[in-house]
């Protein structure tokens, strides 16, 4: 389908140490263009560290990394221009309106005035938010904020979007609507790199990696992982890996 054979993220022997503590212990993996890649692991397994490095926020201790076609050591600004990021906390400004948030992020990503007004208009139409254009973020429902935060992270048409626990705390219907957006983005060719604590969501991913104690303990399609661990759900796969360390 939309997943191509081209690798958009290449990680070889990524090591990140904090003093004597090894947060990422020789991670090696590739993510394909247009793939929904689930990045799972227990609290403290080293996921956040790896994501910060992939986004060009931290340098690794060692290892070869290429993100969106750019070298993570020498072309960090290029990396940042070609990725989007949405955190759990949504990172929208509560005291700015819907439109002001879009304009602000458009400006940060270096879009021209004309591009910002065009894209924000089509974005608000697509999300059914046109009527809420001048409402403050703090006054709109959580489900809207979440969709807006995702779309803002996609405003500059990034090649990869990183989603860090994007569905925490939302109701089950909104959670599914959000995964619809993710699915559409991936089918449009954007690579989606996502973390979640909802194990049923990991089954919506093309492939899933599970980190345990700084290492990748398993990486495959959800189907194959369930087969490999003789488990009926991804929850069982996860528990076996995280408990059996």
């Amino acid at each position: 389908m939309a997943v191509s054979s081209e690798n958009i993220i290449i990680v070889k022997d990524l090591v990140k140490k904090f003093g004597s503590f090894v947060a990422n212990d020789h991670l090696t993996f590739e993510v394909r263009k247009g793939e929904i890649f689930g990045f799972l692991g227990a609290n403290g397994a080293g996921k956040t560290t790896a994501i910060k490095i992939l986004c060009g926020l931290w340098y690794p201790t060692s290892g070869e990394l290429n993100v969106a076609g750019y070298n993570i050591y020498t072309q960090r600004e290029k990396v940042k221009q070609n990725i989007g990021y949405m955190s759990q906390k949504f990172s929208l400004y509560d005291d700015l309106t819907v439109f002001e948030n879009i304009r602000f992020y458009g400006g940060i990503y270096g879009l021209r005035k004309k591009e910002i007004s065009e894209r924000s208009k089509s974005l608000m139409e697509r999300l059914d938010l046109s009527a809420a254009r001048d409402k403050l973020i703090r006054d709109i429902p959580l489900g809207w904020k979440q969709k807006l935060a995702f779309s803002v992270a996609m405003l500059h048409n990034p090649k990869i979007v990183f989603l860090d626990e994007p569905t925490g705390g939302v109701d089950p219907i909104t959670r599914r609507q959000f995964w619809n957006l993710i699915y559409e983005a991936a089918h449009g060719g954007t690579t989606v790199f996502v973390t979640t604590h909802y194990m049923d969501e990991s089954e919506y991913c093309d492939r899933v990696s599970i980190m345990v104690d700084g290492r990748i303990a398993a990486l495959d399609t959800p189907e194959k992982l369930k087969f490999q661990f003789n488990a009926s759900t991804m929850d069982d796969v996860f528990i076996q890996l995280a408990r059996g360390k």
Partner: protein
């Protein structure tokens, strides 16, 4: 059944223009493990803050162990333990200092009630000299529970103790709660995770300040009004879109790699559906009759309310 531990009648809470809690009533019996299941904005935190006497209701009567939450707030504070949703221990104190601080304000000592917390605290005791801010998520959660228990409360209020916690730690946490409940403590716990409902004796399903349903998980599932099929066929999204258009469909929701299809009994025949999906080009179609999960029930109630 034991006497009533918590009684709430026609409770309403209004913040300026928002109705956070909209006329809810329920009772929790002594010794129950009672769950409030719902997303952010359902009113779970506001409810807990009222019952722990930290917020005054706009309207309605609430009693905890027969005491009024407004008039008798001092007595209530002595008999309840509260674990707020935000980690609220002192990050710059050590594990042991935090615990001993909470013991001291309630006029007790760690030694006096050690038996009660032993199971939980023993797991973090090796790190007792570590600052609370330096603990992992699972360890913070265990310390917060120990602090909420150290004065031997009759009743525990745990506000989203498992949010943002990984699947393994979540499972362990629920095992700890069951042991506490078996020891006789009444526990009120809130969670946004639908699958945790089945770990409770009874649950209230909440949405937008209202209680949509209260019962045992088994009874809630029994009340699910539709027939339900689990359908699988390769790629889940095209399948879901196809099923939404299928005549007779009430809801079609993704659950991992399968789609739960709900409909009025008799309106959809699995064999016909199988044939239809094959003609539409779906391969490896598997259809199975299933019982509803709490999440199916919750979504159905959301669409009614």
């Amino acid at each position: 059944m034991d006497p009533v531990a918590v009684s709430v009648k026609n409770l309403t809470l209004r913040y300026k223009t928002t109705l956070a809690i909209d006329d809810i009533s329920f009772e929790v019996a002594g010794g129950e493990l009672f769950g409030f299941i719902g997303p952010d904005g359902a009113g779970k935190t506001s409810l807990f803050r009222i019952l722990t006497t930290l917020l005054v209701p706009t309207q309605g009567a609430c009693q905890v162990e027969g005491l009024d939450v407004v008039k008798d707030y001092r007595q209530i504070r002595n008999i309840c333990g509260y674990m707020p949703g935000k980690f609220s221990l002192y990050q710059d104190l050590t594990v042991e200092e935090n615990l001993s601080f909470f013991a001291t304000i309630f006029g007790t000592t760690i030694a006096e009630n050690y038996d009660l917390i032993k199971d939980i605290y023993a797991q973090i005791e090796p790190f007792k000299k570590r600052k609370a801010g330096k603990l992992s998520g699972g360890m913070k959660q265990k310390l917060a529970l120990s602090c909420a228990l150290i004065h031997k409360p009759q009743i525990l209020f745990l506000d989203e103790p498992t949010t943002g916690v990984d699947a393994v730690s979540r499972r362990e946490f629920w095992e700890m709660l069951k042991r506490l409940r078996d020891g006789g403590i009444t526990i009120l716990v809130s969670t946004p995770y639908m699958d945790e409902a089945e770990k409770c004796d009874r649950v209230a399903l909440m949405q937008a300040g209202k209680i949509m349903k209260i019962n045992t998980p088994a009874e809630i599932i029994k009340d699910y009004p539709h027939a339900l099929l689990s359908v699988r066929a390769g790629d889940v999204y095209p399948l879901m879109k196809e099923l939404m258009k299928y005549p007779g469909t009430h809801r079609a929701d993704t659950f991992g790699q399968s789609v739960h299809l709900s409909f009025k009994k008799g309106e959809i025949q699995p064999a016909e559906l199988q044939k239809h999906l094959s003609t539409k080009g779906h391969t490896n179609v598997e259809i199975e009759e299933i019982t509803a999960s709490i999440e199916d029930c919750f979504m159905d109630l959301m669409t009614i309310n």
